[in-house]
């Protein structure tokens, strides 16, 4: 692709009652502009992702609101909703826009404020017979976990290691919601949500925002001496097969194949990965979908330490959704930002040494046991 990432901005993730949705978005966007060394007038296209504002804040087209406050106007602004992969979908759109020559510099903002008193969230499983049967997101993932464990002889202790790893990584990330490491016993002894998933096997709800500035790659060096290049950008929907697989996401495999072909790399070339660990089981299944492990062997990566920082292929060095937090509309861009930081060599104490190729994977929604959307972005130096 002919796109580079040149500006990064993120807020703290967590419970942030003192900041409004607009203030969160502005903070991340302002930081991204500053990081790129540009002003509001330089942005030619903007994509803004958010999921819940129409329900929780009675707001819509939040992108224009944030950008208006920043003084960014008179440009194409697109608001994007694609469940958990909203902001990675916004990033995808912005990449396409740059690639198509619609502009040279674009801003992508992801913002969400979930921890509001008005109501509790969150049911991406609404309206379907699943909802009538009493399904919820944790139940949908617990079903997968049971099916996976039944099929491959994996136990709950193996799954718990994913949470231990990501909490350890999150303890190194000043923007993470949870910064206290936990043990396998902590995970197993926390209250059961939907068997076998305990509270610490599930990501939290969060407030937060993240933003990135991207540009046409030929001009990237005007902004930074070491830009990060986008070498693949893929967005696909699920196939919703019946019977559903439940122990794999078929969309992962399709998206990964397409992304690797586009980037001209394979899973063996990756130095660092951010992926969608909404629940511990999800990380294991995504290892397999991304080709980091063969099907049925995913837990080995975490059991044998490969995906810990210091291992062969660190996964979720930011702490992932489990530890960094999961403000729905901000997660996809937060993942892109982490990979870009790593490839710049600016990730501080959680830096993956010599990282040159990284991948960000996000998955949104649940429909008949399949993902509604999957995004994969591959980056290189």
């Amino acid at each position: 692709m002919e796109v580079a990432v040149v500006g990064l901005g993120i807020t703290r993730f967590g419970h942030l009652p003192h900041l409004s949705l607009e203030e969160l978005g502005m903070e991340a966007a302002k930081k991204a502009l500053k990081d790129a060394g540009i002003g509001p007038g330089d942005i030619q296209i903007a994509c803004c992702a958010n999921v819940l504002a129409p329900n929780l804040q009675n707001e819509f087209t939040i992108g224009q609101k944030i950008l208006w406050e920043l003084g960014i106007n008179k440009i194409p602004v697109i608001n994007v909703e694609n469940a958990c992969s909203s902001s990675s979908s916004a990033f995808y759109l912005a990449c396409l826009a740059i690639q198509a020559g619609a502009g040279e510099v674009a801003l992508v903002v992801g913002v969400e404020k979930m921890l509001v008193p008005r109501k509790n969230i969150l049911d991406a499983v609404t309206g379907a017979p699943e909802a009538a049967a009493g399904f919820s997101l944790p139940a949908a993932f617990a079903l997968k976990a049971n099916r996976y464990m039944h099929k491959y002889g994996v136990n709950v202790e193996d799954l718990a290691l994913v949470a231990v790893k990501n909490r350890r990584h999150g303890s190194l990330n000043p923007f993470a919601q949870y910064r206290e490491p936990i043990t396998k016993e902590d995970v197993l002894n926390s209250p059961v949500i939907a068997e076998p998933l305990t509270r610490l096997s599930c990501c939290p709800q969060s407030d937060g925002a993240a933003a990135v500035v991207i540009c046409r790659n030929s001009m990237a060096k005007r902004f930074r001496s070491r830009p990060v290049y986008v070498s693949a950008s893929v967005l696909l929907s699920g196939s919703y097969a019946n019977p559903p697989s439940l122990s794999t996401w078929e969309a992962d495999f399709r998206a990964a194949e397409k992304a690797y072909a586009m980037a001209g790399v394979g899973p063996e070339d990756l130095d660092v990965v951010e992926l969608h660990d909404a629940f511990t089981i999800a990380e294991i299944m995504h290892y397999e979908g991304l080709g980091l492990a063969t099907v049925g062997e995913g837990v080995r990566l975490v059991k044998e330490g490969f995906t810990f920082l210091g291992g062969n292929i660190p996964v979720n060095p930011s702490g992932g959704l489990l530890s960094r937090g999961h403000p729905l509309g901000a997660t996809g861009v937060a993942q892109v930002l982490e990979i870009a930081l790593q490839l710049r060599g600016e990730a501080g104490v959680r830096q993956v040494k010599g990282a040159r190729v990284g991948l960000a994977h996000c998955m949104g929604g649940e429909l008949h046991g399949d993902a509604r959307s999957v995004t994969i972005h591959i980056f290189s130096t």
Partner: protein, 133 residues
């Protein structure tokens, strides 16, 4: 008799539980819930059918958290693989210790829980198949 909350999920005329799905007249693919367009061959020629009332547990989990105060936990949800060859999401009401992937189950209609306002929530669920004789 159980009143329907959603049409096409069971048969309120006969009072017997019956799941309505669709079958593609062109390629034979079956669906639950019923579809207007076949996702295999894109035909719009879909016949309304009553699906099998028997199946096996395809996947399940026990839910311990309450979505609303009236939820009785734990309860079990899962996918049942019908004899028709398709899965459907359902509440499964079986003793937890007898529940495994592959356990034979049959359809039943009744109260599956309570609404937040305390009213009974009618619906369908699957229970252990009891072999006759």
């Amino acid at each position: 008799m159980v009143k329907t909350v959603r049409e096409n999920l069971w048969n309120q005329d006969t009072g017997a539980p019956a799941l309505f799905g669709s079958c593609c007249r062109k390629c034979g693919a079956k669906y639950f819930p019923a579809r207007k367009i076949c996702w295999r061959c894109y035909s719009t020629d879909q016949e309304k059918i009553i699906l099998s009332q028997r199946g096996t547990v395809y996947a399940f989990c026990n839910v311990f958290f309450k979505k609303n105060e009236n939820d009785e936990t734990p309860y079990t949800v899962g996918y049942v693989l019908l004899e028709d060859g398709i899965t459907m999401p359902a509440r499964i009401c079986c003793p937890r210790e007898s529940l495994k992937v592959g356990t034979p189950v049959v359809l039943e209609a009744g109260v599956t829980g309570l609404f937040p306002d305390g009213k009974e929530k009618p619906g369908y669920f699957f229970k252990l198949e009891v072999k006759e004789g």
